[in-house]
Symmetry: C2
Subunit: 659 residues, 2 copies
């Protein structure tokens, strides 16, 4: 217990909810690392596709990146609207559920969930990949490093979104500050040098062209570059994490993330062209990332270079955090609609949805282990999820504004709605087009897998819903309490020998019912077994039957059972079945006296007889059987002390209302 | 469940006990692998110590091995006597308990237990070491191979001693046949060649002498060679595994093991001298074991050579099996005296003491993992245990015969007892001397560790005994049943909402007591929380209170609890404490209605609320609280089907005696 407290912090009371909410300062590291980190690989991905054009590729990178920047702006504006319209949660699931119906919302939910799991595995492995290529001696520890980072991010998020946000604030803001500075210096140098700046460390020469430009190549480059935008939806899914005024803080966070991302993307595109930087083949010796070449060209290889590149590594490794903030919140909404297991909606020890966090970590951990920490091949799978969600969310907003428009009376309001409709309409159209391009461009590389998995997830969600509906249907009760009198239960007391524990159990049993049977397992063979049974019967008659008779009770019967398989469960359940048959309208209560284990080592010193017995009785006994646990303590516990130890009773007192 | 059945076989009934007993045919592989395997390293260990003498060492090997053979003969004769005198179990623990008292028996038990755990780790790692030096490509998998063999041996022994004995019969008898044949050929060649046989493959030349012979060197060589005798006590500890007539079969097994071992040791010693074979330094390139040199010299490197050496590897790897047969049986005896946890004495699924097998596997597994599968350094630790047990057992027998002698009347009987006393006296003296030599010779190498660990184990055994004595003291009941009337319990019913499960629970509660409170956890915040509570109260009043009043019951109260920590345990236990305080002489029954999980996936779809609640109530509630589990089934179970699935009900019917 105290280990849990050490790692996760003390259990938080409901009242502390407000203090656990975040502002934009924590919001950017918590939700923005995915988006900001993508600035380091998005442009590079687009440039890599253009590599066959050689130096001419540089001329075309602008043609690819400008539409991406426009798309980013459209997304920013439309997500601002969405957050304002759905201030409690503006994620694709909520928006499409409200406007497009259950099927669309499940499509959005499954795309989102898949995307978030992939993002964790791919983000961490990419970060560690960058780290091990910078420090090759770490290469043998790739998987271990990946898992260590996964555990770290998981723990920080189990502690709470605000803890994670604060923990990652330093690397995030160092990254932002470094690159804004580098870009500023670079732009200044370029302008000062009349467009031909001098590189401190010259980037390698661009390769010779091997292909001519085609529309298809540009489209593929665009699709690759679009990965720079995954993570933009993060704020909308995490709105509920913000402090009041929620909308303002969410807007501020979204603005900061999109603004910085746009600045970085724009600056990188501009400087790549002016410094003549091309992407390098990652599988070749001496590979350098575009950001590393750029930083080297602008500021040389000094301390500042290493700080900047170090912050890129941190941001990449921690980009998984975005998933940890959003995945549990999305799952919670889906679980509240019964499409996911209900524990996903349970508020955990630290007021976050711990179950979702653990499932996410488990899923990503399995992916990392399965791929040995190298999840490169999964990258094509995961832009699809993001753009599918973008499109669903935008389409949902279009439907929303259309409906609002039909309802709105004053012309001014209608005007505003029309403008909003237009913005989301443009958003929907552009993201849909981008999605189509991505699917076509990446279909063979693995996008088909995502397209296959999504319907499977939807099927699972529907199965969960069906289960809960059936369960609720069976449990629903519209009649008043049924009080037909069927008499007291028949009580079976499981005994091991005649001792104080049996005494206590029999006392309780006789208070419940006049029909009490004590059930005893016959000893396994041995020379003196009959003698022992005879002694037990005599003791029983003297110590139990006679006092019970004297007190006016019907004396409890002693039943000796023969267990051929050395387990009492079997013969006892048979006895239960026989008793049920003989008494068709009575309930049977099985009393299980048990020693309460107060220390861990007692689990080694005792069997699990009581637990096994209870489990078997509950599992197979049927609805006429109840199990009564009668505890025996070596040392009588004190309730208050126990609760304090379990952290279930803090400074907040418990009111018992309405007694 | 069916996986367990597949791996371990079906659950066996008590009646099948007789069929599971073994004869000498299975006894030799089951208990003898340790002893027989030691012929491959015992002489080699003695010869390694003599290495500094160079070729002259060969002359002295006889001086070392002859006392060892004599000791073996003494042990054989005295263990024969022990088995006859203690036909149910003739192990050192039983013998010293009966004749030397509790302290001596605990000393014997702890020495035995330590020895058996070490034997598993050392045996398997030595076997795998031999294997990987024969097939060097396997070297990187040393630990994995060790653990795989451990798992295999564990599973075979969990299936039963007879299964393990049958499984290892082939390698055991191939080993015996091969080496008896090789030795026979070798001896024939030697005699035929007048003492100077021609080696098919010449052994490497012996190194130059670097030291002169000393008594100390010979003693150390003797101590090293004594490892050839560990495993001789195995039969005495495993007597209970044999079929009737037990003594005959045990004698036959002991005779076979000692006879073969003696033959091998004698033959090896003879041939080593005639072929001029010396031990080689194991750390040097090109190392060959003595047995490998010998086989090569006698029969060359043909198919037969590889069969023989392969069988040595198998025998070494499987020598751990001896521990798996005896350790659980020794632990069972110790546990029956309450010095070890009682589950050690429980007969498992396959009529063996599964708990002991699992502890042994876990202990050896930890040792293997801690030492990375190379447990060489542990070898000096473990002959001590064996010789300490020999000595204790012999001393016990001396005391036994001495007492018998004083009781015996007819002179012929006294005569026989005197002879027995003499045999065990010689045994005790020789093993004690050997033990002293081993301790002195190996003290620095690690024997001191064993001498340190033994008292620690004895301390633990005593602590276990103390715990059980205290427990039994508290539980002992010598008064008749106490039947002071304290009225019906106060029943608290834990509800989640008003549904059929609550209905069932309330019905049962009202049958137990007039004082029923339904406890409901208040919802966590939200805009409509008050409205929901108001609705619940109204429904309660209509559907529960009014019908209960109409039926003449005191209407159950509805208590709404506020859980600041989102767990019902805290506030409920507080309510229990308050109720106990208000009603100082009444018991409190907490009724926990719960959905029974029939499929594994239901564990993912539901929380663990009922289990957590039950655990907290039993752990901290105190002895005035009982917990009543009321099950709810999605599909009503059938008792018989369930029991068949759990293998708790076979062909054997259950008699309910004495009803």
């Amino acid at each position: 217990m105290s280990l849990l407290k050490l790692v996760l912090g003390r259990r938080l009371a409901n009242e502390e909810y407000v203090e656990r909410k975040i502002s934009a300062f924590e919001g950017v590291p918590a939700m923005g690392l995915d988006g900001l980190g993508s600035s380091s690989y998005g442009p590079e991905a687009a440039m890599t596709v253009l590599l066959p054009l050689g130096a001419a590729g540089m001329a075309y990178i602008g043609m690819v990146m400008v539409p991406i920047l426009v798309l980013l702006a459209v997304l920013y504006v439309s997500y601002r609207q969405t957050i304002r319209a759905y201030p409690s949660n503006g994620g694709a699931y909520t928006v499409s559920k409200a406007n497009l119906g259950a099927n669309a919302s499940l499509l959005a939910a499954s795309a989102l969930m898949i995307d978030y799991v992939l993002n964790v595995a791919v983000g961490i492995s990419a970060g560690v990949g960058a780290l091990t290529s910078a420090v090759p001696t770490l290469h043998p520890y790739t998987l271990a490093l990946c898992l260590a980072i996964l555990v770290l991010v998981t723990i920080m998020n189990l502690r709470g979104t605000i803890d994670a946000g604060r923990a990652w604030a330093l690397p995030t803001y160092v990254f932002v500050a470094s690159f804004v500075l580098i870009l500023a210096i670079g732009v200044y140098n370029t302008v000062a040098a009349g467009g031909q700046p001098h590189a401190v460390v010259s980037p390698p020469r661009s390769p010779n062209p091997t292909e001519a430009v085609t529309i298809w190549l540009l489209l593929r480059s665009f699709a690759a570059g679009c990965t720079a935008m995954t993570g933009v939806e993060a704020v909308s899914n995490g709105v509920s994490a913000f402090r009041e005024p929620v909308v303002t803080r969410a807007h501020r966070t979204l603005g900061a993330i999109c603004g910085i991302l746009g600045l970085l993307l724009g600056g990188i595109t501009y400087l790549v062209r002016s410094y003549g930087i091309t992407a390098m083949d990652q599988s070749q010796q001496g590979y350098q990332s575009v950001l590393s070449q750029l930083a080297g060209a602008v500021i040389g290889r000094g301390l500042f270079y290493y700080v900047a590149i170090g912050s890129v590594l941190c941001v990449l490794c921690l980009s998984a955090n975005t998933s940890f903030v959003d995945f549990p919140r999305v799952c919670r909404l889906v679980a509240q609609d019964d499409f996911l297991p209900r524990p996903f909606a349970a508020v955990g020890r630290r007021l976050v949805f711990s179950v979702g966090i653990l499932y996410l970590a488990a899923g990503a951990g399995l992916l990392l282990i399965a791929f040995g920490g190298i999840t490169d091949r999964l990258i094509p799978l995961f832009a699809i999820g993001a753009f599918l969600t973008f499109t669903m969310s935008q389409l949902g907003m279009v439907a929303h504004w259309y409906r609002e428009l039909r309802r709105a009376r004053p012309e001014r309001e209608r005007h505003r709605h029309r403008a909003s409709l237009a913005i989301n309409g443009v958003g929907a159209a552009t993201t849909a087009i981008a999605l189509a391009i991505i699917i076509v461009a990446k279909f063979v590389e693995g996008a088909w897998i995502t397209l296959l998995v999504i319907p499977c997830v939807i099927f699972l969600l529907r199965m969960v819903k069906r289960y809960y509906s059936e369960l609720d249907g069976q449990l629903r009760e519209d009649r008043p309490l049924d009080l037909r009198d069927t008499g007291p239960p028949i009580v079976l007391v499981v005994t091991e020998s005649w001792n104080r524990l049996t005494d206590r159990a029999l006392q309780f049993a006789l208070r419940l019912s006049p029909d009490v049977m004590a059930v005893h397992l016959m000893a396994l063979g041995g020379p003196d077994v009959h003698e022992r049974h005879r002694l037990l019967r005599r003791k029983w008659s003297l110590d139990v039957e006679q006092p019970a008779k004297a007190a006016g009770h019907k004396p409890p019967q002693l039943v000796l059972l023969d267990a051929h398989y050395r387990r009492i469960e079997g013969p006892l359940l048979k006895l239960v079945a026989a008793t049920e048959k003989d008494n068709p309208d009575r309930q049977i209560a099985v009393l299980v006296p048990q020693l309460v284990k107060e220390h861990w080592w007692q689990y080694l010193l005792h069997g699990y007889r009581a637990r096994r017995l209870r489990t078997a009785l509950l599992r197979y006994g049927g609805s006429r059987v109840v199990v009564i646990d009668v505890p025996w303590y070596l040392q009588e516990p004190r309730i208050e002390e126990g609760l304090e130890q379990e952290e279930l009773l803090g400074a907040h007192s418990t009111r018992a209302a309405g007694r």
